[in-house]
Amino acid sequence: MKDRERMEDRTRMRLVVVGHGPTAHRLIETLDARGFDGTVTVFGEEPRPAYDRVALTSYLSGKSVEDLTYPAPDGVTLRTGVRVTAIDRVNRAVTTDAGDSEPYDVLVLATGSAPFVPPVPGRDLPGCFVYRTIDDLDAIRDASRDARAGVVIGGGLLGLEAADALRGLGLETHVIEMSGWLMPRQVDEGGGSVLRGHIEGLGLTIHTGAGVRSIEAGPDGRVTSLVKPDGEAIDAQVVVFSAGIRPRDELARACGLEVGERGGIVVDASMRTSDERIYAIGECALAAGMVYGLVGPCNTQAEVAAERILDGPATFTGADMSTKLKLLGVEVAQFGAMSGALDVTYMDPVGGVYKRLFISDDAKTLLGGICVGDAGPYNALRPFVGKPLPGAPSDLLFAGAGKASVDLPDDAQVCSCNNVTKGRICEAIADKGLTDVQGIKDCTRAGTTCGSCVPMLKQILVKSGVDVGKALCEHFAHSRAELFDIVNVRGITTFSQLIAEHGTGRGCDICKPAVASILASLGRGHILDGEQAALQDTNDQFLANIQKNGTYSVVPRIPGGEITPDKLIVIGEVARDFGLYTKITGAQRIDLLGARVEQLPAIWRRLVDAGFESGHAYGKALRTVKSCVGSTWCRYGVQDSVGLAIALELRYRGLRSPHKLKSAVSGCARECAEARSKDFGIIATEQGWNLYVGGNGGFKPRHADLLASDLSTDDLVRTIDRFLMFYIRTADRLQRTAAWLENLDGGLDYLREVIMEDSLGICAELDAQMERHVSTYVDEWRATIEDPDKLRRFVSFVNAPGVPDPSISFETERDQIKPMLIPLEVTRR
């Protein structure tokens, strides 16, 4: 019977979902996207809507609950903090711990799983935790405040993640693993020993082949130590159990649905349980013979169920359990089988690299592989599992994300998080005419979860004949980043020299401003010096922003948004005397609009005399560093956000970059300055500053990512210096930091390596470049009004400098001027 026919006389299907985790979220999202027209009621036991559990640990390093929470589903009744206690299959209703019941036509169980806590004495003592929810992490963080040391029981993927979290909370950390080596589900003994070397190098203590005899309490009743079977006691005030998960099948069991011998709600390929009105998806389901503990397969199950609810034909027949992750800074990856007739192994215990490929007995077919310390082969080879080897095995061990992957078969899975094949991606490229990775992400979801397949998406684009051309324009075959290097390394100082030596023709409105910006970033002269003036957009040429009627706006710098009454009065007087329109901008400063070209120098003169300077509102440069009032006035503030904002704005003022740069500083976690919508945003903490990068407001909003936490002011400034200089060096023309970061191979981790660990050895140069910028900064307005040569351009007409442009006129609206536009007549040829 079809689900729709089960609705009897009602017209709208009543769908009830139990559990609101990542899998339930994907189900609801998919139903919504496909136009499901029934009612949806979701019960979630946790006190908050579904969040990204995969990214749970980032909560401890500064991500907020809102960051992790998925966008709220539309038109869904969501009841958080309510647990479903029973299913009445006869009357088709669920009852809740809130005491009510909810009828359903179709029920979906997405109850996930719970950490398994082995029955060791003392496991219920205060100080014992599991690692699964935001509430768990809050509790662990609280307990860690007064703790010296912690133990994680379980050395698998999640256990090591928890261990890293304890280490991050400042605890001396131990890991106890029953098996002979770490991560036994993903790596073999050789890989485990290399992994152990890495982790011990970070100061963690590993106990393998070990169990727990008991957990002991001190006089206060809280955990003080953990005793191993050999009698050794480990000092610990925090104990985290991470010894595997158990599907939450209790509701299903109680109402008589079939469950597996070792747990898990049994479902068929359509994700239906033994009751055809009830589906089970995600970590609570026993699908295709197993319980999947990874988001990728769970998402696929959710999509299959959604399609079935809409009467579609989808099936779930098993999923790839390949994993690639970065744990405590070490790449670990496993794909396909973990054994085979033949294998090739590379092991470098000193460098901490282990790679092993498993091959069929005829040495022709790739069966699987394990990587520790370098996951290169994972990206390149995972799609070839079960297929002929794409090269000599020993070469493949060293295949980076190399060319091997380009020749992938169409059915090869490229994005395992979202189950997207190469064929599907190629189809989307061809049908939708996609030209960039973002397009592929939007259309297919590939690359949107863990991001590890993004380099491969790029290669597929290239292979599909898409010209991901780097050429800036017809005059330069180089990308902006390449031109930056050329100008930097060869010491080029003029556009003419650059185009003569490295380009063709005489340039255009694309390459000229781009090169002008590069020259300015590298401190090669005032932007209106000599030939440079001819490179600038009109805004840079006139150091003001052009408006729709050909007049300009003037925006003086007001660092951090702090201004004295006297200066405010000057701005008012200037506006009044020149008849300008005034408006307070979103960037905490004041815009003066309606100035004619020939008025600009006189306006600047008045402003400069009163101590103002250019605010660079016209430039692809630092705009403002906004701030909240901070600890000086605000009763919540923990640091002086205004003082820092002013210091940063004065440091980076005038810095030319591929696009405009915005920043803000908030004095505490309440974030009143909206720092996370900025290219670089700073939020005060008790210990210092958290630095966020790559945020954006505007057309395509993006929350900035946490780059580093609890920095001292000096470390903060140094990190921002390098972030900005590295961006200026490598970004495309007109690419904001948000898009730059999203396209950066290796993303945030790579950025951290480059600017905080100096993996490219360029930090000294970045620092020097910023130092030069800071020490050579001059106010562009002042430099212009003091130079008669530069002033020559500021006339209405060369042959009638005293005549204002007669086409500019204003009317009055709300007591201020407003441009009057002349109707257009256009000639076409």
Binding site: R506, G507, A533, D537, N549, V798, N799, T827, R828
Partner: protein, 118 residues
């Protein structure tokens, strides 16, 4: 602004506008010829061009403030307002829309730039 047809009475009527050296290489300048606004440009090779100063897309008198460059070897200016590119030689917009700005004759006599709006 109306684009006038050539008026025979003014044919060959050259109006001096400024010394050649007042024009900077690869930049434009606005000049007032009778009551008409003209954008004059000096390209890198010293050649001069004159176009109507009115940007036909925005209606503002701003063409003289655009960036001068080349497209396939032909000298161009890009409107500073919305960046449409126009040929300095023909006044035709490179976007294929057929939109055109008027072009005027321009020359240098004894170091003085002269424009004829006929």
């Amino acid at each position: 602004m109306t684009i006038l047809d050539a008026s025979p009475a003014l044919a060959g009527h050259w109006i001096p506008v400024c010394p050649y050296t007042d024009l900077l290489p690869e930049q434009g300048a606005a000049v007032l010829v009778d009551d008409r606004q003209v954008a004059v440009f000096r390209t890198f090779d010293g050649a001069l061009y004159a176009l109507g100063n009115l940007d036909p897309f925005s209606g503002a008198q701003v063409m003289s403030r655009g960036i001068v460059g080349t497209r396939n070897g032909e000298p161009t200016v890009a409107s500073p307002m919305h960046k449409q590119v126009f040929s300095l030689v023909t006044g035709v917009c490179a976007d294929g829309s057929g939109v055109t700005v008027p072009t005027y004759a321009i020359r240098v006599t004894d170091g003085t730039v002269e424009v004829s709006v006929v």
